[in-house]
């Protein structure tokens, strides 16, 4: 089961992202409708478009070679889902003043949970299973780490987080809670 974490600045720019592979099994409740198909984020939907946009310049001689063939999840799709989830997150944000938004959105196999800091940073987590407590704990950890990063006077709300300490601690927390 994989998790995708994005820390988004108030202008929707990702400042940090993390992909975490959890050892927990994926709760597979796929519909018979989709029985013989891969999950959405691994399928090559609109492959022509991808191929055209990606491989038309440099890789012309290996047409199609640059297209991702099966295998891992399409990072682009994951990002699109996280980005699309912002619609609902912003909606909820304006109505309620909770920081932890549990499973605010779902898209295909992904559930989106979010955490909004008082500074309008959004932590968006894409996950497949249910793990409310773990995710809440995880978000609190990330928040604490984020605040510690922001203590740095040279860090603005729009600076990318490149600290390896931050990265390691977030990963540790992810291993612990997710």
């Amino acid at each position: 089961m994989s998790h995708h974490l994005f820390l988004l600045s108030p202008s929707d720019t990702p400042l940090y992202s993390l992909t975490h592979q959890s050892t927990k099994p994926v709760p597979s409740v796929t519909s018979p409708l989709a029985s013989n198909l891969p999950t959405w984020s691994t399928s090559a939907f609109a492959g022509t478009l991808t191929a055209l946009s990606g491989a038309s310049s440099a890789t012309q001689h290996t047409t199609g070679g640059a297209v991702r063939v099966g295998g891992g999840q399409d990072r682009h799709v994951i990002q699109m889902i996280a980005n699309a989830g912002l619609d609902v997150i912003e909606d909820v944000m304006r109505k309620e003043n909770m920081m932890y938004l549990k499973s605010v959105d779902k898209f295909n196999e992904w559930t989106i949970s979010a955490f909004i800091t008082p500074g309008n940073m959004k932590f968006v987590l894409l996950h497949e299973g249910k793990n409310d407590d773990g995710i809440r704990q995880f978000f609190m950890d990330v928040w604490e780490l984020y605040v510690k990063t922001m203590v740095n006077p040279f860090h603005t709300a729009h600076t990318r987080i490149r600290s390896s300490v931050f990265d390691n601690r977030v990963r540790a927390s992810a291993r612990k809670h997710l």
């Binding site: 202008s11 720019t13 990702p14 519909s31 029985s35 939907f45 478009l49 946009s53 989830g85 912002l86």
Partner: protein, 1267 residues
């Protein structure tokens, strides 16, 4: 009771692949087809009918059940056309005569059609009712009925003990008894709500159904499906009560058996019945809001149940059936969504909601209040209805899943489109953008597939970008013609919509693809427009704006947009997209992407140009110009502006001294004055250095770069250039100003290949301009940190509106540009030759010589003014020392003296004639060797002063030509040990009888003791001998000189007698003068009055000394000569004493008391006798120019052997006029024999004993004999 017929007019017939749905979802198919034909007199009905039949056959498969009724209305064009053959009858062909009341007539005809449909329903049911039909119905998951003709007619005997007999009564009733107008619109209504157009049906084969069929034909099959079909038909016929009855029956049966698909369809039908009932009743239901459950929850639950059932339907092995299953599932989700959406958007369950659901557009109906997407309005709807937008979105999301891949292309597009529309209406733009991206992907799949199939696509690996299908006109290439390419013109219709879609998706993700515009005209220049502040500031605003959006997604979506535009193909748009994204995303694009986008754009522009596309892109790459400056002219061409008044002024020394005499370290006025307009000369070639920048990683090509000027006319040629990647690059543009006046350089025109020229202005960075920019930056940066408004609407448009308001307020701002003043044509001189070899001048210290410079006028204009100015390396240090002010007064004088009186170069201002075109003129300049001078420059200013424009006459323009020289000055004669000695007179008969001495005395003409001796040592440190001459010129004395040859390395002492002088008190009291009229000279000395007096005295006597003694030298055996300067020598107090004449002249004489006997006097010695009184007579003469009161002090040594009368000190002499003498006498007696010295000291009254200046001394020696 009014009845309504509701029609659906599908634009396409249901696809053939949907035929398995014919029984499962009859509402999917058109029940009736009405052809409309117009009939003129000549047309024959026969042909019309066959035409109708043929086109019908095209659309519908021959074996299908639908359409149930096919009619063709033939409208008569003219009234009473009787040529139609009434004898011939065609089934379904109805002639509509041209009568007055056509509306009613057509209504009646439609009624007939409806009744026909109902009758057909009956027929269909009757077929299904019989066991065989029922078996067909239960045979597969999505059964298909064979053509009716193949089925045996219904036999009562075959029908078992079922409820079959019941149907006919029920069934036939509506057909027969009801008036034809009661046709229900229900099926259509249902389909409208679903809004998915013509959907497919699922054709899965139910395995257990097959089994059933094999084991027991007809009998054991459940009647669930039959009841469901019955319910469908009742629903379509508008009899909702009956439909509900049959649906309920069916549900009972489905609950026990395992047939989830049909069960789900039944539930959908029941939900539809509920909606139609509510619609039919009208507003009545609105009152029931008091109940706990909203009225629609039941419907919604049913639909949700259906959705779940669809999801659980076991996957069939047939791909086509699978696609239909997915289609049904999606349709059901859409139905559920549109139910919730309709209720939400029409503020609750009510007539408006029903109307919304009835609308037959693919776009969900959005009430006008929602169209602005105001969040508050959206939320208000949620508050009223209790349906949150996120819940609608959650329902809609169920539709998106891997099963979309099962769907056919067109169905997928239509489903995704509806999904996007719902999201858009909900205000979820990002989700909409995501779905739209998938829609684009599907469209592109179709596009590319279609192209590959049409046989025109390229044979080789040329990407589908080049939409030109080139193929050979002649399949067999003939040798004479070669291959001729033919382009199949493609229809661009629809491209616009796809591009709009792309732009929208990009806009949602924060990229404005229109930022680089497309325009038609490539030649237009916008120089007439006043420079716009917004345009100018655009770059600053852009560079400071904080990044927004998701860079990785932006890059991806932009690449896709470019690819799509390329595939369409629409080449100008490709370029527009690529360049816009380069401009917008420059900071986040990777080098590869930048390069890709740029090369794509370049390629596309070339292709577009080749194809004659008139559109061109605007200039895009930000502000390319960093700075513009005028390249400095070569020194000889620089014109200088001077006031006319200097034209006839003599050589002025002030500037020489004043060189850097500015008392202020920083003089703002000077800085301003220095920044005056650059002067350039008309018709001279001007060069402008333009610094360009390229922040991208690829070489930026500019097709044209030219200056944008205003003011006087300016000729210049544009250049084409390539700015290397990631650098600042300098180019030189040259041109000529053809008029006099002011030339303003506003900026540059730049034009990229295939683009439109754009002007970039470049104002001067004046203080106001800098202030304005700084303010702008502050405004932006202060806004940057704030993220008050979340969401897409929040960050972007807010900022823009605020900036526009500030800009409009500052609209009156005017720029200042680089300006230069163009002056009339000027003459040009050049140095043709000079007498100095290699520009190096060798001089001895103090040498005086001349150099000659020949000038040539190379311009057609005559020179009538010439002026020389000089500069050498000794001037600057001296000026600096003077300016620092640390020199003593004396040193200051010396420095100034050397600057003014002994310049290295000098020019005696000759009368300058006019130098005409191509004429030469020779200048002769004097040189003076000054130690320490290493180089010098001769500046020759010249002008054509004759001014044709008298109004401008207070200034004229000069040009300068400079001649630099290297100067070497050898220091060969060193003076030292200057001294002035007393030169006492030893009487007319000196003791020595040496003739030579006598001769020398006589040559020196010492006949007086008013002389002193000047001596100086001169050392020759050079390698050649020099003749050195001392010269004396004194008033009233003959000129004397003495010459010595000094060999190399030796020292000679030069001696010269000079007459003592006495300088007036009045002159002595003057301070040491300054040669320049420098101001602010503050006496820094802390000398006492007396010291100061002494200093002045030294100074003035020294000056006087140098006036009367001069040194000259001459190279022995050579032609070089010069002066020997003593100015480095110091004058000391003893020297002064020796040089100065005393104030009084004293003569001491000893004589005997008795008049008769004189005291013998020999060789300046008196010989008196001891113990005899002698008289000492003192004669004092006043030598000063004023009258003085004198006293005299006498002293004898040894004193103890002398008797004297009275006191010896302060003997009064009295008041003496100038030149007056007086004698006084006193008596002495020497008591013993021996040498006595008697000295007298005359003092002016009041002078102290130490004041040497006011004293005069003399002494005599008395040798006293004993007897």
């Amino acid at each position: 009771m009014t009845l309504e017929v509701i029609f659906t007019f599908p634009t396409h017939p249901p696809p053939r692949s949907h035929s398995p749905l014919s029984l499962l979802r009859p509402s999917q198919f058109p029940l009736a087809v009405i052809g409309v034909a117009s009939c003129a007199q000549i047309d024959s009905l026969n042909s019309l009918y066959s035409q109708f039949d043929a086109s019908l056959g095209d659309i519908f498969p021959p074996g299908g059940v639908y359409p149930l009724v096919k009619n063709c209305f033939v409208f008569e064009e003219t009234e009473g056309t009787e040529n139609l053959d009434p004898g011939e009858t065609f089934p379904g062909l109805i002639v509509v005569p041209r009568i007055m009341n056509r509306k009613l007539h057509i209504g009646t005809l439609l009624g007939v059609i409806c009744s026909q449909i109902l009758a057909e329903f009956g027929v269909l049911i009757r077929t299904l009712e019989n066991p065989l039909g029922n078996e067909y119905l239960n045979a597969t998951l999505m059964p298909v009925l064979p053509p009716l003709s193949e089925l045996p007619p219904p036999l009562d005997s075959l029908s078992g003990p079922d409820q079959a007999p019941k149907f006919p009564s029920h069934n036939s009733q509506p057909d027969v008894s009801r008036p034809s107008f009661t046709l229900s619109a229900a099926p259509n209504l249902k389909r409208n709500a679903s809004s998915t157009g013509n959907g497919p049906h699922q054709p899965p084969l139910g395995i257990q159904a097959q089994k059933k069929r094999l084991s027991t034909i007809g009998v054991s099959s459940s009647h669930g499906r039959l009841y469901k079909v019955l319910g469908d038909f009742f629903l379509m016929a508008g009899r909702t009560e009956d439909a509900m009855v049959w649906y309920t029956e069916a549900v009972q049966l489905f609950k026990n058996s395992h047939d989830p698909l049909w069960y789900a369809c039944t539930l959908e039908g029941m939900a539809t019945v509920a909606i139609i009932d509510a619609w039919a009743i009208g507003q009545g239901l609105h009152n029931s809001s008091s109940t706990v459950k909203e009225p629609w929850t039941d419907v919604s639950d049913k639909l949700q149940q259906a959705i779940n059932l669809y999801l659980r339907t076991p996957a069939p092995d047939n791909e086509q059936i699978h696609a239909l299953l997915a289609f049904l599932y999606c349709g059901c989700v859409l139905r559920q969504t549109s139910l919730l959406f309709a209720i939400w958007s029409s503020k609750g369950w009510g007539p408006l909601a029903f109307t919304t659901m009835l609308r037959s557009a693919t776009k969900p109906y959005v009430p006008p209040t929602l169209e602005d997407g105001n969040w508050v309005n959206l939320e208000r709807l949620s508050a009223i209805t209790g349906i949150s937008r996120s819940s609608i979105s959650a329902v809609l999301t169920q539709m998106h899943g891997p099963w979309l891949l099962h769907l056919g292309q067109r169905e997928r597009i239509s489903i995704l489109t509806s999904m996007a529309t719902f999201y858009a209406s909900l205000g979820y733009q990002r989700k909409e953008a995501y779905i739209l991206r998938e829609v684009l992907g599907c469209l592109l799949d179709l596009l590319v597939c279609g192209r590959e199939e049409d046989g025109y696509s390229q044979p080789s690996g040329i990407p589908p970008t080049a939409g030109l299908g080139i193929h050979n006109l002649h399949p067999v290439p003939s040798a004479s013609w070669g291959a001729v390419g033919v382009r199949v013109s493609e229809s661009p219709s629809g491209n616009e919509s796809i591009l709009r879609l792309l732009k929208y998706v990009c806009k949602v993700l924060g990229i404005n693809l229109d930022v680089v515009g497309l325009a038609q005209d490539t030649l237009k220049r916008t120089s007439e427009l006043p420079p716009s502040l917004n345009d100018y500031d655009e770059d600053i605003v852009q560079e400071l704006c904080e990044p927004s959006g998701w860079p990785e997604l932006q890059v991806g979506v932009v690449r896709e947009a470019v690819a799509v535009a390329e595939a369409l193909p629409d080449f100008p748009t490709v370029a527009q997209f690529a360049l816009s994204s380069l401009k917008m995303l420059q900071s986040v694009l990777s080098p590869g992407d930048q390069y890709h986008l740029y090369s794509t754009a370049t390629r596309a522009l070339i292709t577009a140009h080749r194809r004659g596309d008139a559109r061109a892109v605007e200039y895009w790459s930000g502000r390319p110009i960093v700075s513009i400056s005028i390249a400095p002219l070569p020194a000889i061409r620089i014109p200088l502006e001077k006031p006319r008044s200097i034209q006839h002024k003599a050589n002025d020394l002030k500037p020489l001294i004043k060189g850097i005499a500015d008392p202020f370290l920083y003089n703002p006025r000077k800085a301003v004055a220095g920044k005056g307009n650059t002067l350039v000369v008309q018709n001279d070639v001007l060069e402008f250095v333009i610094t360009l920048q390229n922040p991208y990683i690829f070489d930026l090509e500019l097709q044209e770069l030219s200056l944008s000027t205003s003011g006087v006319s300016f000729k210049s040629k544009p250049v084409q250039l390539v700015i290397p990647a990631g650098t600042l690059h300098q180019v030189v543009l040259s041109g000529q100003a053809t008029e006099t006046g002011t030339l303003t350089i506003r900026g540059c025109f730049v034009q990229a290949p295939g683009g439109i020229a754009r002007e970039y202005i470049l104002p001067l960075y004046t203080t106001e301009e800098e202030e304005r920019l700084a303010r702008k930056r502050r405004t932006i940066t202060s806004e940057n940190g704030r993220s008050k408004y979340p969401g897409l609407e929040g960050c972007r448009p807010q900022k823009r509106s605020s900036t526009t308001t500030t800009e409009s307020s500052a609209g009156t701002f005017t720029f200042r540009f680089l300006e230069c003043k163009v002056v009339p044509d000027q003459p040009l001189l050049r140095i043709r030759r000079s007498s100095v070899t290699h520009g190096a001048l060798m001089l001895y210290d103090g040498e005086k010589s001349t150099i000659r410079i020949t000038l040539e006028n190379v311009s057609p204009i005559a020179v009538d003014f010439l002026h020389c100015a000089f500069e050498d390396s000794t001037i600057v240090p001296a000026q600096k020392a003077l300016a620092e002010g640390n020199l003593s007064v004396f040193e200051t004088y010396e420095t100034e003296n050397s600057l003014i009186n002994n310049p290295v170069f000098s020019w005696d201002q000759e009368e300058v004639k006019v130098i005409a075109h191509n004429q030469n003129f020779t200048l002769t300049l004097g040189c003076f060797g000054k130690v320490g001078c290493t180089n010098g420059t001769i500046h020759i200013s010249y002008a054509h002063t004759h001014d044709p424009q008298p109004q401008d006459s207070d200034i004229f323009y000069l040009r300068q030509v400079s001649y630099p020289l290297t100067v070497t000055v050898y220091h060969m004669l060193e003076c030292s040990k200057m001294d002035i000695l007393h030169f006492p007179s030893y009487g007319t008969s000196p003791s020595g009888t040496d003739n030579t001495t006598k001769d020398r005395f006589s040559t020196l003409r010492i006949d007086d003791d008013d002389w002193c001796l000047f001596s100086l040592e001169v050392r020759n440190t050079y390698g050649a001998p020099f003749d050195v001459t001392l010269e004396r010129t004194q008033d009233g004395e003959a000129t004397a000189s003495s010459t010595t040859t000094i060999p190399p390395g030796s020292v000679s002492r030069l001696v010269m007698t000079i007459k003592k002088i006495l300088i007036d008190e009045a002159l002595l009291s003057k301070p040491i003068p300054t040669l320049s009229d420098r101001q602010f000279v503050v006496a820094q000395s802390s000398l006492s009055h007396r010291e100061e007096q002494a200093q002045r005295e030294l100074f003035w006597y020294r000056e006087e000394l140098f006036k009367c003694v001069r040194g000259r030298w001459r190279e022995t055996g050579g032609a070089r000569s010069g002066v020997l300067s003593f100015r480095a020598q110091r004058m000391t107090l003893p020297m002064l004493e020796a040089f100065r004449k005393e104030i009084a002249h004293i003569t001491l004489t000893l004589c005997s008391i008795h008049e008769l006997s004189e005291v013998p006097y020999r060789a300046a010695q008196f010989y008196p006798q001891a113990n005899e009184f002698v008289q000492l007579t003192m004669k004092v003469t006043n030598l000063t120019s004023s009258s003085v009161v004198f006293t005299v002090d006498l002293e004898t040594t040894p004193l103890e052997y002398v008797l004297h009368e009275g006191v010896l000190t302060d003997l009064p002499i009295g008041h003496l006029q100038s030149g007056e003498s007086r004698e006084i006498a006193t008596s002495l007696c020497f008591l013993t024999a021996g040498h006595f010295e008697i000295s007298a000291q005359v003092r002016g009254f009041g002078a102290s004993e130490t004041d040497n200046r006011r004293m005069a001394r003399t002494y005599i020696t008395a040798v006293v004999g004993s007897g």
